[in-house]
Symmetry: C2
Subunit: 146 residues, 2 copies
């Protein structure tokens, strides 16, 4: 039921990037430091993000990462899918051959239903939502905070 640590790090790493001036080339070292995450692990994570195309990577001295997609257009669902793979609560959700009960299973439908709800929720937040001042964000996201 948990998302992985890797996804948590990825999201917060991208939020850190989104807080920098647009176009800034960010080093893994700095991203890791500012998110209290292991640099070596974060490096791996950003490799995966780069492969997916949502960030650019530049090797060598002065290398690093920049956004290739606007933070507004990167949803939490997108990030989790890149890092953890397809979002699913039960194996039958996406892969028909993952379970041979499909067709006779009473509860299969429920999982597709709940999965839709979850995906919708994860899609309703973008990286950009967290890049602005925290107080403002809270007010925007929750409507009213006391």
């Amino acid at each position: 039921m948990n998302i992985s640590r890797a996804s948590d790090y990825a999201i917060r790493g991208l939020v850190y990037m989104a807080k920098q001036p647009a176009g800034t080339v960010c080093f893994v070292k700095d991203i890791a430091k500012n998110t209290n995450s292991p640099a070596s692990f974060m490096s791996k994570i950003f490799q995966t993000l780069a492969k997916s195309g949502i960030v650019n990577s530049f090797t060598g001295t002065k290398g690093g990462f920049t956004f290739n997609t606007q933070p507004e257009n990167i949803t939490i669902k997108t990030v989790i899918e890149i890092i953890d793979g397809p979002i699913l609560l039960n194996r039958c959700a996406v892969n028909k051959s993952a379970c041979n009960e499909i067709g006779i299973c009473d509860v299969h439908y429920m999982w597709t239903d709940i999965r839709k709800i979850l995906i919708n929720a994860l899609n309703s937040y973008s990286i950009a939502d967290f890049a602005t001042d925290k107080k403002n964000k809270m007010e925007v996201l929750s409507g009213v905070m006391q």
Copy 2:
């Protein structure tokens, strides 16, 4: 993000039980056979369900399991929590000491929000929903099925 196999088995095992006449004492052997699940594993799972109190266990010949809570009142959330533990998408959701970013973390609020949505969805289905004829169930749950 996945629920465990154990929870999947538990849910389908309980649905099988709910299909039997009320009060029937069910053997793990039969529950496992009718759900295509490993009997030894299912035995372990029902031990846990019994400990939680939602089913009764009877040892000895003609022993087995019966409901201790009406299937209508056993939601999917209940079952998953018994088997997999508290429902959470990220470690910060329930345990404040699980992450030392809490307090400074930009995205913490999001996880509490999405968690609520997920829990609500899991609570909207009960074991009894799947114990009746499949076609009827589909119609009830989805409103209109084509």
